[in-house]
């Protein structure tokens, strides 16, 4: 499996327990590789594969020009992101088998993601001939093939991310024709505070008990009341937003529990187990 980070920030590699990786696939776990996309590197690779242009150093004037095309001109940059992913999908090993069974892409933020996914359509309306026309056509076909490409939405249990997820779903269906199969609602507080717990927290801070309780517990019970109230509200917000998403999206909405551990392999495994369980 190949994990692709569109923004080369190192977050995806860190979540898979690896140090920052580069443009070449790097094995981080058995059967899992990760790469970070750099449009300039994509462009060099593209020119090497299709035009036999040797790798050039950053110092040459030609490199400066190509760097600018890859990173500065709107259009090529978007296409190089999508094109590299499509290229990896097409790659075969020495035995002619697909290099990857599955490619998982950590996409850009929603405003940018739509631009990336609609880039092939925009490019097709511009390019009428040349090598690039047929390449963009197969990239576009790949993205629109619901059997091969799907998109999962990720939202947080807050109003704005929920609104944005719903809007993005509509735009993706309308503009990009891409299948959207599931929405994850991340960082949901799954524990609720029961009436008995709430009653206990309130009773412990009552003036007639507070001092005795504090002495017996070895610490103040007041922060516990505050924590319970916060957990209660966060749980309620998660439930409310999951309900709103389910009402507006015709796809499964899967809440994922808030974790207190740092991002890393252990956390990713916990989340992977939760996803597997939910999708089973």
């Amino acid at each position: 499996m190949l994990s692709v980070a569109v923004d080369a920030k190192g977050d995806l590699a860190a979540a898979l327990g690896s140090h920052p990786v580069g443009f070449q696939p790097h094995v981080v776990e058995r059967n899992i590789s990760v790469i970070e996309l750099h449009p300039e590197e994509s462009f060099q690779e593209y020119l090497r594969i299709y035009f036999k242009v040797p790798r050039f150093t950053r110092l040459t004037p030609l490199a400066k020009v190509f760097d600018f095309i890859a990173t500065g001109v709107p259009g090529p940059r978007d296409m190089l992101v999508v094109g590299k992913i499509a290229y990896e999908e097409r790659r075969r090993d020495g035995n002619g088998r697909p290099m990857w069974d599955l490619i998982v892409v950590d996409s850009a933020a929603s405003g940018q993601a739509l631009g990336h996914l609609t880039a092939p359509r925009a490019m097709l309306s511009l390019v009428r001939g040349g090598v690039i026309r047929s390449q963009v056509e197969w990239i576009d076909r790949l993205l629109r093939d619901h059997a091969r490409t799907t998109l999962t939405l990720c939202a947080l249990p807050e109003e704005m991310p929920v609104v944005e997820a719903v809007e993005l779903y509509g735009e993706l269906r309308r503009q990009a024709g891409i299948a959207v199969d599931v929405c994850f609602l991340n960082r949901v507080v799954t524990q609720s505070v029961s009436p008995a717990q709430r009653k206990l927290a309130e009773a412990m801070v009552a003036p007639e008990h507070c001092d005795a309780v504090q002495e017996r517990l070895g610490g103040s019970p007041e922060p516990l009341l505050e924590a319970a109230a916060l957990i209660d509200r966060l749980h309620e917000a998660g439930t409310r937003h999951a309900r709103a998403l389910r009402a507006k999206l015709p796809i499964p909405v899967i809440p994922l529990a808030l974790t207190t551990t740092r991002s890393g392999l252990a956390t990713s495994r916990t989340i992977a187990d939760a996803v597997s369980e939910a999708l089973a």
């Binding site: 600018f68 850009a108 704005m160 103040s220 516990l224 924590a227 957990i231 991002s263």
Partner: protein, 401 residues
Amino acid sequence: MTARVERRRAERRGPRREEWPSFALGERLGALEVVICAGSGGVGKTTISASIAMSIAAAQDKRVLVLTVDPARRLATALGLKGIGTDPVVLSQTRLRRAGLPAHGEVVAAQLDMKSAWDRMIERYSPDRKTAQKILNNRFYQRISDSFVGSHEYAAMESLFEIHETGEYDCLVIDTPPSRNALDFLEAPSRLSDYVGARLLSWLAGPSGLGLRAVNFAAAPFIRIADRLLGSELLAEVADFVRQLQQLYGGIQQRAREVYRLLRSPVVGFVVVTTLEPGPFAEAEFFCTKLREFSMPLRAVVVNRMLPDALRDPSGKVAATTLTEDPRVAGWLSTELGQRISADTARALGDHFLMGNALAQRDWRQFSRLAHLGDVAIARVPLFTDDVSQLEGLVRIAGLL
């Protein structure tokens, strides 16, 4: 109920309208003419940008424009509006006051209209109407100016400068795209200038407009690749576009210099918005470093969604640990409180605190790292569990800035 508990409950409820604080950040930033808000995706940047605009309007009698550059249409949601079109939407003093903001000024919200910003840029820098029209009609130009993600940054910086120049608003608050794109945003003027002035363009344009056949020796391999890649029809269109664009070079280069001067001037301030999640926080630190490299003035860091200090209370942690680990505590509580308390109930209550404590401790470690920023103002916005996207919610945040 103890006074302490009552005080904490009051803190949770938030201030009553007559208790609004002094809008300290609004006071501080209100002296500026341009406030640029940057930060990672998903940290609440649009909400904070709108709240900063309100905080300034509350602190001072200013006309404040909050302009979003983010292609995701979050600003309208943040303001509780159905949508913001190309025309700015005025949030009058009356409306702001109704929402609880003791406004002295006025807030106006607008969304970047990318296409018309590009068109205006072409019209402004073209030496004559005919050149402008030729570029505006070029198919290649039409696509790059309205279809691709990277187009936003160029258009946004131009709009920022253009609006600032009109003097129509006392203060502009810019909600930028997520940080990595925000860096593109900062580099946009010089990139555009490089683009137009690049050797590539001379090669594509051909000497004195003689066309693609008349290129020099160095450019020949590039042209051959470009021809095979794009096809001769598009390449000719690109070359035509480039030929026209070269006439704009002087104007664009001049504008790039002016924009850089503005961004480094004392009337501009950057506000970095972040949460204490490791990813966004690392990106905020990266952005602060970049601002220093660019000699651009960082005025404040707004830390959004901070957990209550009570969750880090060491005394609370001891109490919670006793509840989760002492098997006899439930029995003692039953006797003391005069009600039956099960061991599960006591343990769960302790667990709730310990979960919050783990998150709050992690957050605090990150927060402490902001000390290295020196005299930059740090504003803390607590985690709100109810929706803050309506105007009243933004007013509530504005009061905390």
